[in-house]
């Protein structure tokens, strides 16, 4: 069945992809790899969640209401913020733990998305859900990984290196000096995946959004222009978000007397 230029996928052909997963699950089950269950649950979640999102987005595009778009964006942001704090092996205690993640996701995705939509893409309505929701979604998805990774490295390094940090404090180093190497290493950890993906984009892998646009019948040249903008926004978001999250966490692990407060980090 063909609508316009694009091949629409009927359910029975989608289930062919499910058959592949079933075979994989069966194989791992027989080899006792204990992967079948999480694999099946994740696949099921993927199908249900994306089907729901498809329905919701169809409705949102139809209504085209600014408040509704804002509401959806906020929900996405809060979930991403929670995800950042849940992914940590060592968590920052108290409300801060959640606040740090959400706040840096806000800067890395929200602010950068608005900039991209209003200043670069410039649709008729800059918040047009057809542009704003996919852009925000892509930014959230990618920067969340970077921010979570930076924070995870930071708290882990602080915990494992607490004696060295205190030894530096004893010699009169400021908290910033005592954390310098840890800050550098945790930012690198967060940003290297993005930097590496940008460096190989188009050669080894075709980025998802571009692929989608090409499949949807757009010219590859147009698709590439969008993809470039999105990747640059993602890189900027990852960088600012990681810097902010690490900065906020480093404020939190020292108190007003510049003592290292490892009691504010706890292991999950």
């Amino acid at each position: 069945m063909i609508i316009g230029d694009i091949v629409s996928l009927p359910t029975e052909r989608i289930s062919l992809a499910c058959v592949l997963i079933m075979i994989l699950a069966l194989t791992t089950w027989r080899a006792d790899l204990r992967l079948a269950r999480p694999l099946l649950i994740a696949s099921l979640r993927l199908i249900i969640q994306l089907s729901l999102v498809g329905l919701i987005l169809e409705y949102v595009f139809e209504i085209n209401n600014f408040l509704l778009v804002t509401l959806i964006a906020l929900v996405m942001l809060l979930v991403a913020g929670r995800e950042v704090s849940v992914r940590q092996k060592y968590r920052v205690s108290g409300r801060w733990g959640y606040g740090i993640g959400t706040c840096s996701m806000f800067v890395s995705s929200f602010a950068v998305s608005i900039f991209g939509l209003a200043a670069i893409i410039r649709a008729e309505n800059w918040w047009d859900p057809r542009y704003s929701i996919p852009v925000l979604g892509m930014l959230l998805g990618n920067t969340m990984t970077a921010v979570a990774l930076s924070l995870d490295r930071f708290t882990t390094y602080v915990w494992e290196g607490r004696e060295i940090i205190e030894a530096k404090l004893m010699l009169g180093h400021s908290p910033q000096e005592a954390l310098k190497m840890i800050l550098r290493d945790s930012l690198r950890a967060g940003l290297m995946p993005v930097i590496n993906s940008m460096a190989i984009a188009g050669i080894v892998s075709l980025p998802g959004m571009m692929t989608g646009q090409i499949l949807a019948g757009n010219s590859p040249v147009d698709a590439v222009r969008y993809q470039i903008v999105i990747w640059l926004l993602i890189a900027a978001g990852c960088g600012f978000g990681s810097m902010l999250v690490v900065q906020m966490a480093s404020k939190r692990v020292f108190d007003e007397r510049e003592r290292l407060r490892t009691d504010r980090i706890y292991k999950v």
Binding site: E163, E166, L169, M170, G172, H173, E258, R259, R261
Partner: protein, 205 residues
């Protein structure tokens, strides 16, 4: 003269940490307070509380300057805390020193400055301990909080370290708190002895 001497002092007033009794004592300039007590009695915690590394309450001052009137960093530059186990983070010894320590190094038994180009990973525990002392003293702290400074040393090095600390304290009128398990050593180096017992300090004669 007496009044000036009285002024140059490490004053600990109603220091409280964990669930301990409040502790108050003074260490005069150029004097050494020897601190004893069983393992786990809290000698290290007391030094850490004075250096403001752990949460604590109370007034602590050095030469009339109160801890609360300066940042934690400025305070810790003044009261040099030597931990019982030294930590090193750069590859080479010399990267941990920011000023010349040539005299200190020779006084501590290192024949020349070549030790600064040694790799930290190749140091023995005794070398680390002496170098950590040199690293601390080269920053000219105004008080010394020493946590078992000779624990890993042979007897020759012990007397080198004792001499270096005594000379530093006397020449610069610096108060010292010296934690040790060896009572004979404290008899040699300290002017007063105290012992940690049941979450409080007792005078020890």
């Amino acid at each position: 003269m007496n009044r000036i001497l009285f002024f140059f002092v490490l004053k600990v007033d109603q220091l409280k940490f964990l669930d301990w009794h409040a502790l108050s004592f003074d260490v005069d300039s150029g004097h050494c307070l020897g601190l004893m007590g069983r393992s786990g009695s809290g000698k290290t915690l007391l030094l850490r509380a004075i250096a403001d590394l752990d949460v604590n309450e109370g007034k602590v001052s050095l030469n009339g300057q109160f801890r609360d009137d300066m940042s934690g960093r400025e305070w810790r530059k003044k009261v040099g805390l030597l931990a019982s186990e030294s930590k090193w983070w750069h590859e080479l010894v010399g990267q941990h020193f920011n000023s010349s320590a040539l005299n200190l190094l020779s006084d501590l038994g290192f024949s020349d400055e070549s030790v600064l180009s040694w790799k930290v990973s190749r140091l023995s525990s005794g070398e680390k301990q002496r170098l950590a002392l040199a690293r601390l003293l080269s920053r000219s702290p105004g008080a010394l909080l020493l946590d078992e400074p000779t624990a890993n040393l042979d007897s020759d090095s012990v007397s080198l370290v004792e001499n270096v600390i005594r000379r530093y304290s006397e020449e610069r009128s610096v108060p010292v708190i010296w934690v040790a398990h060896d009572e004979l050593q404290l008899n040699r180096v300290s002017d007063i002895k105290m012992s940690m017992n049941e979450k409080k300090l007792d005078q020890y004669i």
